[in-house]
Amino acid sequence: MSLKRYILKRTLYSIVLLFFALTLNFIIFRMAPGNPIQIVASGVRLKPEMVERLIELWGLNEPLHVQYIRYLKSTLTWDFGYSYNSLEPVGREIMERLPNTLLLMGVSLFFAIVFGTVFGVYAAYKRGSLFDLTTVTVSLFSYALPTFWMGLLMIYVGGYLFGMFPLAGTMSRPPPLDPIMRIFDLAWHLFLPGLTLFLFQYGGWLLMMRSTLLEALHEDYITTARAKGVAERGVLFKHAFRNAMLPLVTNIALQIPGLLNGAILTETVFSWRGLGLYTWSAIQFTDYPVLQAVFYIFALVTIVCNLIVDIVYGYIDPRIQY
């Protein structure tokens, strides 16, 4: 099988997977308890004709298969309809929140990869040393702690006890007018939630890097390299690390969907207005269009990331059989 055919096959497989995810997404929300009409009319008693009108407006009176086809069409055209709660277009609300989530995820993921990899490599290289012991212990600890708990701890210590960082939000009120100061203000607000997500991920990266590298360091080609007189630095980075990169690449792609989940808790704890928080509010309101849209995006990101990994593997790992 050629690489081209392999990519085509993986793409088709992803499309089928996406279709199933979409279908499941539709079924789950139709089976969930709660009536959206009651949510809109909370606190008021609507006339039956008004209820009928809303049902008609939202297409809830149509047979399920019609609703399904309409749902597929609208989702694939990125038209997620209106939120039952805010009555605003869901697509617009998602786009408003996406940059904040990307910023939080991006910054924390970047630092987690950099620090996790560097410390992981060094810990593996210095296996059994005090540094190794300390970093592994700290990593296990931070990896095991629940995100929300860590977030609360950060708020208490950094925000309340020392009063060094804001307790919530992404900006001061009102924010500085000067663009440079605005960036500093954002960074100041990003610090605690970013640190929380960083700690949540950093441990995982470090442990993974360490174990992968340890495995690589015991391979025959490392012994050969050392026997050839390659400097220890070269052995570590040119031979061992390069081979340990493979799972790293996989994990980067697979971590992104997982990060979205982590963002739900972190964003809620720090009142960080992103997609995670949006998801949480939608769950509280039984806001089907929002939940369908967000879950669709989560599914899409997961499937696309997997597809990317598959394709990248096809290129970088010659052992992959097409």
Binding site: S86, R97, G159, T268, R273, S281
Partner: protein, 693 residues
């Protein structure tokens, strides 16, 4: 642990009782706002919000403190706590359609077994109060204080059971069924486990009943969704006792909704058993419930509400247990907050009245809220926290006494009349005539008129806006009488229908351009978030904050000058005020003079310009005149010459005339002499002739 609980209880009760029972209206200042700015800071994490209050990052917060936070807040010298009763209540629902709870004596026996004092102390621990009526005290005058109550007593309960025939005839420790004579069948309890308070209260009741020889099945402990399916959605109604609870509105019409027989749907045709899922059917109650719903005056509605409460207390389709009390906190640096019934210290009135301690007005209110707001489109907004913002920007025709929900206060409509009315189709209804204030202006300086209110009702009805569907559902017609008078015709006689139509008024000059696009309309993006309220919108940053400023053009904006002064200071202030008035008059006079000077100056300038024009044209005229004079001079010279020659001619003529005159005189003399001679001759001739005769 027990000691701590008692101390906490004492502290809370001492704090709570005054706030519930002492409801002085004079604590409310009708003018406002007194602060300069209002920031809503959005905290989606309640823990962070509370810490922000402690650090002073916010001055006021929205949510009720849990017990552990109350003790912490009470110990914090920077915080002030206050409490209020929630708009809701918890009760034991009793299935009146299933044996043995269909027997009123059995139900009364149950009522005697609810130990409300213990619930207050051991379960609620000061965060609630015992309740006898189905109308909680928060609804003020609607609560009937004279209904039948049931003292907690196992003996009285046993007596009621005996009265109903539920006696232990075979002395086996289990009471016998008065119909079958057999041991009683199990009484089915549905106890909610998702609410620890209700769970505990339900379990106590079950234990008490069991101790009296009534078998209990399972003491079923289920969560809300299961309860909902079993208790409310099943036609068979396989349950006897359920630990229920309700949130309420400001009116007591829930009595009719919860217990009128027409609200009971035994076949679940409408998908559930209806609001009256206990299946209480009582024709006398129905009559009063109908009267409650249709009464057109407060007095009639109140009488009906009282009667409904009396019947319910007698028939016991439900046993009211308790209402919740919430404790909220604010910063000690602020004063003037209003602990409104059902809301607490974060009421609308608080932001309207509050100001920094030691400062009569001004300051920036930092109000923490635990949710982001949604759209600020007043036609689609549904979320509670969105309305925290919107109700400060928009106005409604009237408001209510923050200490008595039954007491309506004139506001944008300073007065109104409610009259009976019959529609052209013969449906009885009411006509409400609003008389609006004449000095209210929109935030964009456009004057408010009754036409705005008329437009609001019509717009909502024409567009069929769901948010206000129930508000306008009985409106038949809206008639604009004049700029400040509006008549609203409703096809119902219910006194409460008046409350339905108390909705925010829209600025016609803005919303008439929105038309059919009300759902997509974003007033913030359009820069058109214009209201009439005490606060003006400045800015909203999603997920972060909302910024409002005091509306200094508000028709109730305070004369801040006299606020908070002593008598001596007041005297000085008044003198100062007079001076100020004089100064203002002088300023006004100066301004008037300045205007006069300005006017004179402009007149002078105009005069100067016209004078210059005149001079210019005069100079030209003078030139022309000089030329004319020269030509006239030459003409005069010519004329002089001519005159001289004429004069000489005249002299000649005069001499000729003299000559002629002299000649004429001589001729005349000759003539006269000739005539005289002729006359003499004639006379002689006549004499002679006569003499001859």
């Amino acid at each position: 642990m027990k000691k701590t609980k008692v101390i906490l209880l004492v502290l809370l009760v001492s704090m709570i009782i005054p706030s519930i029972l002492v409801m002085a209206e004079d604590e409310v200042e009708l003018t406002g706002p007194w602060a300069d700015e209002l920031f809503f800071k959005i905290y989606l994490n309640p823990e962070a919000e509370y810490l922000a209050l402690k650090t002073g990052d916010i001055n006021l917060m929205d949510w009720e403190l849990p017990a552990e936070k109350v003790t912490d807040a009470l110990a914090d010298p920077n915080l002030v706590t206050d409490s209020t009763a929630d708009l809701g209540y918890y009760l034991i629902d009793i299935n009146c359609q299933r044996w043995p709870t269909s027997d009123v004596h059995f139900r009364r026996a149950l009522a005697h077994l609810v130990d409300k004092a213990r619930i207050e102390t051991d379960i609620l621990q000061g965060f609630g109060y015992a309740l006898d009526s189905q109308v909680p005290v928060v609804l003020g005058d609607w609560a009937n204080p004279d209904i039948r109550t049931y003292e907690y007593s196992a003996a009285l309960a046993a007596a009621e059971l005996d009265l109903g025939g539920f006696t232990d005839t075979d002395a086996d420790g289990i009471r016998n069924d008065p119909i079958t004579g057999e041991n009683m069948a199990d009484v089915l309890f549905f106890i909610r486990i998702d609410d620890p308070e209700r769970k505990q209260a339900g379990e106590w009741l079950a234990a008490e009943l069991k101790a009296l020889g009534v078998p209990i099945e399972g003491e079923l402990a289920v969560e809300r969704s299961v309860c909902s399916a079993a208790v409310m959605d099943t036609p068979a109604g396989e349950w006897n006792v359920y630990t229920g609870g309700w949130g309420l509105g400001r009116d007591p019409d829930h009595l009719a909704d919860f217990y009128h027989s027409k609200e009971f749907d035994p076949e679940c045709v409408g998908g559930w058993r209806g609001y009256n899922y206990p299946g209480f059917v009582n024709s006398t109650f129905d009559v009063w419930a109908d009267l409650l719903k249709s009464a057109s005056t407060f007095e009639d509605a109140k009488e009906a509400a009282f009667m409904c409460q009396e019947i319910l207390a007698e028939q016991v389709p439900g046993i009211p247990m308790y209402g919740h009390i919430g404790v909220k906190a604010y910063r000690v640096e602020w004063t003037g907050l209003v602990n409104a019934v059902g809301t607490g210290i974060n009421s609308w009135w608080s932001t309207y009245n509050m100001h920094p301690v030691g400062q009569d007005y001004g300051g920036r209110i930092e109000y923490g809220i635990k949710s982001d707001i949604e759209t600020l489109n007043v036609m689609t907004a549904a979320w509670t926290y969105t309305w925290e913002v919107l109700d400060k920007i928009y106005e409604t025709p009237y408001t209510n006494n923050p200490y008595d929900l039954a007491d309506d206060w004139g506001w944008l409509a300073e007065s109104w009349e409610i009259e009976d009315w019959v529609s052209p189709t013969g449906v009885p209804g009411i006509k409400i005539t609003f008389h609006f204030v004449e000095d209210a202006i929109w935030h964009d300086d456009v004057p408010f008129t009754a036409e705005d209110m008329e437009f609001t009702y019509n717009y909502i009805m024409e567009q069929g806006i769901p948010r206000y569907a129930s508000s306008t559902q009985f409106i038949e017609d809206v008639v604009l009488v004049d700029d400040y008078t509006l008549e609203v015709y409703q096809s119902t006689t219910s006194f409460f229908a008046f409350h339905y139509i108390n909705i925010p008024v829209l600025p016609k000059h803005i919303w008439e351009n929105v038309g059919d696009d009300w759902q997509d309309y974003d007033p913030v993006a359009e820069g058109e978030l214009i209201g009439l309220g005490p606060w003006k919108f400045v800015d909203y940053v999603a997920g972060e904050y909302v910024h409002l400023v005091a509306n200094e053009d508000y028709w109730k904006f305070p004369d801040r000058f006299y606020q908070g002064l002593s008598m001596a200071e007041l005297q000085q202030a008044k003198s100062l005020s007079m001076l100020r008035a004089q100064l203002e008059a002088a300023n006004a006079a100066t301004e008037e003079q300045a205007e006069t000077i300005s006017e004179l100056s402009s007149q002078f300038t105009a005069f100067q310009a016209s004078a210059l024009d005149l001079i210019g044209s005069s100079v030209d005229s003078i030139g022309d005149l000089a030329d004319n004079i020269d030509s006239l001079d030459s003409n005069i010279g010519t004329l002089d010459t001519e005159i001289a020659s004429l004069n000489s001619d005249i002299s000649g003529l005069e001499s000729q005339t003299s000559t002629l005159q002299a000649g004429l005189s001589s001729a005349s003399n000759i003539g006269y002499a000739s005539i005289a001679i002729a006359i003499l001759i004639g006379a002689v001739a006549i004499f002679m002739a006569r003499r001859e005769t």
